[in-house]
């Protein structure tokens, strides 16, 4: 049977190296790499590691993500890694019709009307972090703020409190960036599973007013949800609730601290913070799990797909392709930062509210800031997303 590479070559599909694990340019300029990928072709083949297709523009991405019949989330694997690593992260690692039932049960827990009552708590944490940051001789937005706010807020909401936030944030980080081999991956998931499992088993006995208790109260097909499966869903929430929003906030502030006009806009027009969040999320899309495996033969942009074909969804480049520069009040503004289709980010409403409050309060309290002298940005890579590792600021 011809390999994916041989098939790509015989059908004239462009072949271009996208190596998320080893391309060191991702440490210095990840967005430059994404922009390069969009210029290759809407669909191309990367021979990195085990080889995979890359969907790099909006239409191709939309086609894949809307076609859950052809493009499955099971098995859930990271398509670009050297070794195959399987993941069990429901409901991401589910396909219809099972996925549909769980999704329907979960969506109400993350709906806007559930998020609104949480806003005072987000305000409170934001103010406290800013208070602490103002006393530091070497404030760093990522160390002191963006790695703290989503973790403290989300772990509290889930029911874990914020006693052991650093360890839990580190675990979420490892779960997002370490896919070296199955054993290491399983060890991280196991550690998270213990924390989340203890919480969920306690809440099963004595429900409280938190997300864990609400998840345990879900019914699937009229039956109470299985506790072990609920813990698996809780593990994903533990990871996704901490890491993605913190990474996105880091990039948003990196932009604002480098661009005084945009910073001034945030201060002068707080009522437009929402639009700015959309634009900066589009431009610095940190993405999310972004692979699919073909479960049946089909075609994509005219290219014949065989069962087992891997595709990587290069959402970051695709969103930047809509417009090559930042315009904070951009209208219309479409992007895929929270995904498309049936696996749309469940936490998108809460993430947007967190980012909006974080930025509004920050610009009320610290309208003047800039990047500290001598800063050279470094980005963590090797995952489906990149992450700015530090952001030292000069305040006031």
């Amino acid at each position: 049977m011809p390999t994916m590479l041989e098939r790509a070559e015989s059908h004239g599909l462009p072949v271009h190296l996208l190596d998320l694990e080893n391309d060191e340019r991702l440490a210095a300029d990840p967005f430059g790499v994404w922009d390069e990928m969009t210029k290759v072709a809407p669909l191309f083949y990367s021979p990195a590691n085990r080889g995979f297709l890359v969907a790099s523009d909006f239409d191709t991405i939309k086609t894949v993500l809307r076609d859950a019949k052809t493009w499955a989330n099971l098995p859930t694997t990271i398509v670009y890694t050297k070794e195959q690593v399987l993941m069990n992260t429901p409901p991401i690692s589910m396909d219809p019709p099972v996925h549909t039932k769980f999704r329907r049960a979960l969506i109400p827990l993350f709906a806007p009307n559930e998020v609104t009552p949480l806003e005072p708590r987000i305000h409170e944490i934001t103010h406290r972090l800013i208070d602490e940051m103002l006393t530091k001789p070497d404030p760093d937005y990522i160390r002191d703020f963006s790695s703290q706010l989503p973790a403290r807020f989300f772990l509290g909401w889930l029911g874990l409190g914020d006693d052991d936030v650093s360890r839990m944030y580190q675990l979420a980080q490892r779960a997002t960036f370490e896919f070296e081999d199955q054993a290491k991956r399983d060890a991280v998931e196991h550690e998270i599973g213990e924390i989340v499992g203890n919480l969920f088993r306690a809440r099963k006995e004595h429900p409280q007013d938190d997300l864990a208790s609400k998840m345990l109260a879900m019914e699937i097909d009229g039956e109470p949800i299985d506790v072990d499966l609920c813990i698996d869903i809780g593990r994903l929430a533990f990871i996704a609730g901490q890491d993605t929003t913190s990474t996105q906030l880091g990039y948003i502030m990196w932009h604002l601290a480098r661009n005084p006009q945009d910073r001034a806009h945030m201060v002068a027009r707080p009522e437009l913070t929402n639009d700015a969040v959309e634009e900066l999320t589009r431009y610095y899309n940190t993405g999310g799990p972004a692979g699919r495996i073909a479960r049946q033969a089909g075609e994509l942009n005219g290219y014949p797909i065989e069962p087992g074909d891997r595709v990587f969804i290069a959402r970051c480049g695709a969103d930047r392709q809509f417009a090559p520069e930042v315009q904070l009040d951009r209208k219309p503004n479409r992007h895929t930062a929270f995904g498309l289709g049936i696996h749309r980010c469940l936490g998108s409403h809460v993430a947007r509210v967190e980012m909006e409050i974080a930025l509004k309060v920050w610009h009320e309290r610290i309208p003047e800031y800039r990047i500290a002298d001598g800063f050279a940005p470094r980005h963590r890579y090797g995952s489906f997303m990149q992450q700015l590792t530090s952001l030292p600021l000069a305040l006031g």
């Binding site: 959309e278 219309p332 479409r334």
Partner: protein, 75 residues
Amino acid sequence: MTAQQTETGLRYRIDTEFCAGHGRCYALDPDAFVSDDVGYGEVVDKVHPLSRRDEMESVAVACPEEAVTVVGSED
């Protein structure tokens, strides 16, 4: 007479097959959409003046699922 000529206003439509509950519609045009109980957009039953066409098209484009469209109304 073509449909175009009889249009006296505009309406939004949501294709529920594609709506995934991003919530951009009711965030961007809160007088024209509401969130249902779980965060999916619903169209408020009203006809908008033709002069709003560009603004409404901009809201439609912002839907990542391309589930929102603007259609002519003869009401």
